[in-house]
């Protein structure tokens, strides 16, 4: 038993960050563990720094000292990766084409912290020691640990070990997933999950492919199989609500029809589109592909919520 526990603690993965005191991602007050790597490319993604599996460099111009420092203009930083715009040496500019392969060792040479790595390798023990700090809060609120991302199923061995160790320590577990992964990956993770928050982004496969990069056949099949194979998991369906993409009654109705036959789908949550993640795109040199979309109005969200409440027999 001791040997097995040690092995679990040593399993490593790429973690983006760990956020305490979260209240929107599963029951009670929770600690969210964001892991890196995603198998979709949703145009509205609010966590672009979680998309790539490997750690990557980011740049925050607010922290840059410009010409006073200039360290990134010389080796070992890549040639042409950093430069000054004509007439402005207060902040360096980044040529992302040439700078994107900066390693964590090189980024750490930036004395002001303007260059930072998104993502670091951690083992299960390190993550759980951080998560366990709020055990008393979890007990008082019914909370626990949620693994978010990125896509949790992209690091199935690491996720499974994290979840199993959380259970070993008496911590409730949840995952947020879009389930675009082979079933064999889900099979590793789901036995250790208490609550699964899962995204039903678009029910039409062609449109799903247009907006996320892949069709939804496997995703829907995975959801169905998960509902049937793991009856003890509390499943919570979710839709990121994007005006002009899926913020319409037809989509909400289609999702309700999909989840309704499965009694272990205990809720359906709407996540209205927002633009909070936009600043992160520039810090990574990544182009935000969605045009000028607005957060859906409260009225629209309320109207859909009424449909959901009716379907779940919660009419007031």
């Amino acid at each position: 038993m001791k040997t097995q526990t040690t092995n679990i603690l040593e399993v490593t993965g790429t973690v983006l960050n760990i956020q305490r005191y979260c209240s929107h991602d599963g029951p009670g007050t929770r600690t969210n563990v964001f892991i890196k790597g995603c198998s979709l490319r949703c145009k509205w993604c609010g966590n672009p720094e979680s998309i790539r599996l490997k750690p990557e460099v980011s740049y925050d111009p607010k922290k840059c000292d410009g010409k006073k420092c200039s360290i990134c203009l010389k080796a070992p930083f890549p040639e042409g990766g950093f430069y000054f715009a004509e007439g402005d040496d207060s902040k360096v500019k980044v040529n992302w084409q040439l700078a994107s392969r900066v390693s964590s060792e090189i980024a750490s040479l930036c004395p002001t912290g303007a260059l930072e790595m998104f993502g670091k390798t951690m083992n299960v023990g390190e993550v759980l020691d951080e998560v366990e700090k709020d055990s008393s809060i979890y007990r008082n609120t019914g909370g626990g640990m949620t693994i978010s991302g990125g896509e949790v199923m992209l690091q199935p061995d690491f996720a499974a070990a994290l979840l199993e160790e959380a259970h070993n320590r008496g911590i409730n577990t949840a995952v947020e997933t879009a389930c675009n992964a082979p079933w064999s990956f889900l099979e590793k993770v789901l036995p250790h999950v208490d609550t699964m928050l899962h995204d039903l982004k678009l029910m039409n496969s062609e449109r799903h492919k247009k907006w996320t990069g892949v069709g939804n056949e496997r995703i829907l099949a995975n959801f169905k199989k998960a509902y049937e194979t793991f009856p003890d998991i509390d499943f919570i369906a979710r839709t990121p609500l994007i005006p002009g993409v899926n913020a319409d009654e037809e989509h909400i109705r289609a999702v309700l029809e999909f989840i309704k036959p499965h009694k272990n789908v205990i809720d359906y949550e709407l996540l209205p589109y927002h633009r909070f993640g936009l600043g992160k795109y520039e810090s990574l040199g990544v182009v935000y592909e969605l045009d000028d979309y607005k957060t859906p109005s409260d009225e629209v969200v309320k109207r859909f919520q009424v449909m959901i409440d009716e379907a779940f027999g919660r009419n007031k």
């Binding site: 956020q19 966590n47 790539r52 004509e86 007439g87 500019k93 084409q97 990069g213 993640g277 182009v287």
Partner: protein
Amino acid sequence: MSTDKRNKRVAIMVGAGYIPGINAVVAGAALSAGKLGWELVGILDGFEGILYPEKYPNGGLIDINPQILNLDPNTGSVLGQSARVDPFNVRTINELEMVEEVDMSDELLKKLKAEKIDAIISIVGGRGMSILYQLHKKGLNTVCVPRSIENDIASTSVSFGFNTALTFTIDMLDRARLAAKAARKIAVVEVLGEETGWIALQAGIAVAADAVLIPEIPVDLKNVAEHLKNKMSGKKSWGLVVVAQGAKIIHQKKNEEKVSSLKASLSPLATGDSNSEYVINKSGQAAQAVAEGLQLRIAEETFPMVIGHWVRGGAPSAVDRQLGVAYGAGAIQALEAGKNGVMVSFVPPDVKFVPLAEAINKVRTIQAESMFFKVANSLDIYFGKKEASI
């Protein structure tokens, strides 16, 4: 790939982002190559034609014969278009049906070699030029043609596409001015220009705008409002403000979106500041901010307008047609002269060749001593300062 002067097989491709009249560059290259007895082929849709030839019924390369080339300026590029052109980051679906970006630069070079292509003429903007520079460092023979609506590529006086955008913008500003006159309001028109204000400044001069707000001069709207108030205190009952997309407005209250109910699944690095200077896609935000900011400060009504993507369509201007042909021919001349890893540059009256290493990482901004500022000052065009200077 060789760089000797024997009969060459040269390919031509277009980077991401549409600019009208690219056929002019292709025609210039085709005519010039034809004269030398060289073969010119076009790569369809960026690099997709060479990376994924199976997607095309007749292969991803097309023969560019000057005789069959359609030079009608109202047609799109014969080379097609790709939304993303970066062989170092090609979005693919892997064997596990997961989306990922992979480096296909080696594959690209191998396929070009297999097609016996000696060199590539690349019609690209700033980012594309960095990609071609990377490929050049890996062994690709290339000559780049600068292409930019904003005219922000350094080492050349004018990039292909700028004059067409400027011409269209002036036309739109004329219409906006009439609308402002009729409505007796202030039209605030946002034009392209994220890094630099060439379009805003030159178009603003052409239509004698009341104010021009550009990225090079941070602007306090209080000063602009004062200027407009003075101008409109007499007989003039309308106004026209031209604002570049990347204009830097200082002392402006930011619109904070409510956060609490939208935090699900959001990593802790997100901020509530969607109008931050670090937001990339800001189309319409500058016009909105300036129009609102002015209306709050003076007793006049404003209305925002955005030209945005409209400039990317239509026929090229006469200047761009000539420039395009010259750039295309210039690229072939560069290859004939044994040049490689260079950008064709127009420095009147000459066409020159600038090493890519010198062309990248420089943004062509408007300098304080620019004669355009002097002209604008004489027309009483306001920049947020009494005298237009940086």
